[in-house]
């Protein structure tokens, strides 16, 4: 139990319970319209620790070709936020893991910020990643309603983020900090180079209050376990989308997660 008698958010709970967290991103409505719950369930069965469901957007600015393509395909498949919430209404009958939603701001604004947060809470979403929502706008206009619906907002930091800003982000984060491994869009680079490890080290030594997950460029067992040496785990996105593109069967998902976790 957390403060004020609330049940601890699943995100905080998992970081208390486990290390080397594997968070897996996948796009809602991909590869086919009603795959969302099935993929989520398969990931849980396969041993993923946290899930990040991407809301498809026509103009995903921070994403590379792989996630762009999955996003366009999902839109083509007819996925919308309304339909996604409908699809997720029984999420918590199938999935116990912490679940985040990742989406760009425009579709969320169109849906309605309060309505969106309310729906997230209703279906059992634990946190949000909105890459084009800056911290100041979050604090001014969004934080209150996110908190009202018990949604953790996850901020990103990159190798170019100043220490001062990292401290500010640490202060306003609750859940974990998403460490972008290099200056890049998603899926742009493979593997981790020594200067990235220097950056991981630098952040590790800052003694932040929040846990950290490393994302962007994590694609296999080697990069996953390297990331786990410097943070509380890692996030895999594009590599998993590529897997879904080739083979989205339960067996294939199981083998993919096994290959990452070993």
């Amino acid at each position: 139990m957390g403060i004020q008698g609330r049940v601890m958010n699943r995100i905080n709970y998992i970081f208390n319970q486990k290390k080397d967290i594997l968070n897996v991103y996948f796009t809602a409505g991909y590869p086919t319209f009603d795959d969302t719950i099935r993929v989520a369930g398969s990931l849980q069965d396969a041993g993923a620790d946290m899930l990040e469901i991407g809301i498809p957007f026509s103009d995903p600015l921070a994403d590379g070709p792989t996630i762009q393509e999955s996003s366009s395909k999902a839109i083509e498949n007819g996925m919308t936020i309304h339909k996604l919430f409908h699809e997720l209404k029984d999420l918590r009958k199938h999935v116990e893991l912490p679940v985040l939603m990742m989406g760009y701001l425009n579709p969320i604004i169109r849906y309605g910020i309060s309505e969106f947060c309310e729906a997230c809470q209703r279906v059992g979403i634990d946190g949000l990643i909105v890459p084009d929502l800056p911290i100041q706008e979050y604090l001014d206009d969004y934080r209150e309603v996110f908190m009202e619906h018990e949604l953790h907002n996850i901020f990103l930091i990159s190798p170019n983020t100043s220490e001062e800003r990292i401290c500010q982000i640490d202060e306003w984060s609750d859940g974990f900090i998403y460490m972008v491994s290099s200056s890049s869009i998603t899926g742009a680079k493979k593997g981790l180079e020594s200067r990235q490890l220097d950056y991981f080290n630098r952040i590790d030594k800052m003694n932040l209050k929040n846990a950290r997950l490393i994302g962007f460029g994590i694609s296999d067992h080697a990069s996953f376990s390297k990331a786990c040496e410097y943070a509380h785990g890692a996030i895999i996105g594009s590599a998993f989308i590529n897997q879904l593109k080739n083979d989205a069967s339960q067996e294939a998902i199981k083998n993919f997660i096994k290959s990452i976790k070993n």
């Binding site: 103009d59 600015l61 579709p107 084009d132 800056p134 706008e137 983020t161």
Partner: protein
């Protein structure tokens, strides 16, 4: 200062800097330094020298007699089409490349729709010996071929944007992704009054030379320093921002914007953002945005590549929202006719973007004694193929 950007980077409820954290250091660096750099005497001297000797400023304010006679009003054309590289775009690229140099940047990226901004960027990069990559939608590369070749001759790399509608919006996405991947050495020269704060304000300031000159030239020619009306076309809105700038807070000057209706506002093939858009976030700012009910950005359409954009600069969204500016939508056909009319009456073939502004004369009456300034933002050389295909001349 009601219509200028506020301390937080907003024009009323529009603007801001909605960018991924990866770009925060770049945008913050710009935000903290742009005003002190562009207000310094050293910067101003170099900027003005290049505007004079490289661009050919001041551009004439031309009293268009035959056009005035036809529409029974006093029409002046601000001849931005006579700028080096063929449009007003170069005013901004010179300003930004001088700024980029002072920030220690070595490489330049840009997006382009019609190719005018791309050419203007490629030209200043050649001038300064800087590496230049321009993103252009694949569709636009096909309809504005001469500009693609001009950029290449000037030494720029032109990369096709192949996602979405393959036009300006997608070229902007690709340029922003490139910047995320290369944030340290690269400056992104945005070509319009769009993007995260401080871009809209920065670009408007560089383009404000247009209205500064209009004030002086109108004083010389008409004995007053403000027109009754000023007309400009709006895609993102940089030429309009420049032409309106010094008149924004002068309510005696009526501001008129022409948007591209494409085949017609209700046909589903249009780019008339204020008619079709709702508040949203794209390319780093909150603004009016053409979008579906689910918040997916709509694919716009206009015959004019430079107006083929689903958004509008936040300053213009605010001018629309407050009723400060009148907005008209102009179809492809109306624009083509207006372009040919100007060619026949005044001996000037305008860019098709500009032709949208010219079509206002067929849609709205002006008083006999009223002074109307129209910002002739670009020349039609790049559009010859479209004139040949579509124009009834």
């Amino acid at each position: 200062m009601k219509y200028q950007v506020d301390d937080k980077g907003y024009y009323g409820k529009f603007g801001g800097a909605y960018i991924p954290e990866m770009l925060y250091p770049n945008i913050e660096e710009l935000r903290l330094s742009y005003l002190s750099i562009i207000d310094s005497d050293e910067f101003k001297n170099e900027f003005e020298e290049l505007l004079k000797n490289f661009v050919g400023r001041p551009t004439p304010l031309y009293s268009a007699q035959r056009l005035s006679e036809k529409y029974q009003t006093k029409i002046f054309l601000k001849r931005e089409d006579l700028c080096h590289t063929g449009a007003h775009k170069v005013n901004n690229t010179i300003g930004q490349i001088l700024l980029a140099k002072r920030l220690g940047k070595e490489k330049i990226i840009a997006e382009t729709g019609a190719g005018q901004h791309g050419v203007a960027t490629a030209a200043v990069c050649a001038l300064m010996g800087m590496e230049c990559v321009v993103y252009m939608g694949e569709v636009d590369m096909n309809r504005q071929k001469p500009n693609v070749e001009r950029m290449k001759i000037l030494g720029a790399k032109v990369r096709p944007a192949k996602s979405g509608s393959k036009t300006l919006k997608d070229a902007t996405n690709e340029a922003m992704r490139h910047w995320i991947n290369n944030p340290v050495e690269t400056h992104y020269i945005i070509g319009s009054v769009v993007g995260p704060h401080p871009y809209p304000d920065m670009v408007a300031r560089f383009q404000s030379v247009i209205s500064a000159e209009i004030q002086i030239q109108l004083q010389e020619q008409e004995g007053k320093n403000a027109p009754d009306h000023i007309i400009a076309c709006v895609g993102g809105g940089s030429n309009a921002a420049g032409a309106f700038y010094h008149f924004l807070d002068n309510n005696d000057t009526n501001l008129i914007a022409a948007e591209a209706a494409g085949l017609g506002v209700s046909t589903g093939r249009s780019a008339a953002t204020t008619q079709l858009g709702k508040s949203g976030v794209l390319h780093g700012s909150k603004t009016l945005l053409m979008q579906t009910d689910d918040g997916q950005v709509a694919e716009p359409y206009s015959i004019s590549a430079g107006l083929d954009y689903p958004g509008i600069g936040p300053m213009h969204a605010h001018l629309f929202d407050t009723g400060r500016a009148e907005f008209f939508d102009v179809t492809d056909e109306e624009a083509m006719q207006a372009g040919i009319e100007l060619s026949k009456l005044e001996g000037i073939i305008p860019a098709i973007e500009t032709s949208h502004a010219l079509a206002i004369f067929g849609k709205r009456r002006f008083g006999n004694e009223e002074v109307v300034v129209l910002n002739l933002s670009g020349r039609g050389d790049k559009d010859l193929e479209t004139y040949i295909k579509q124009g009834k001349y």
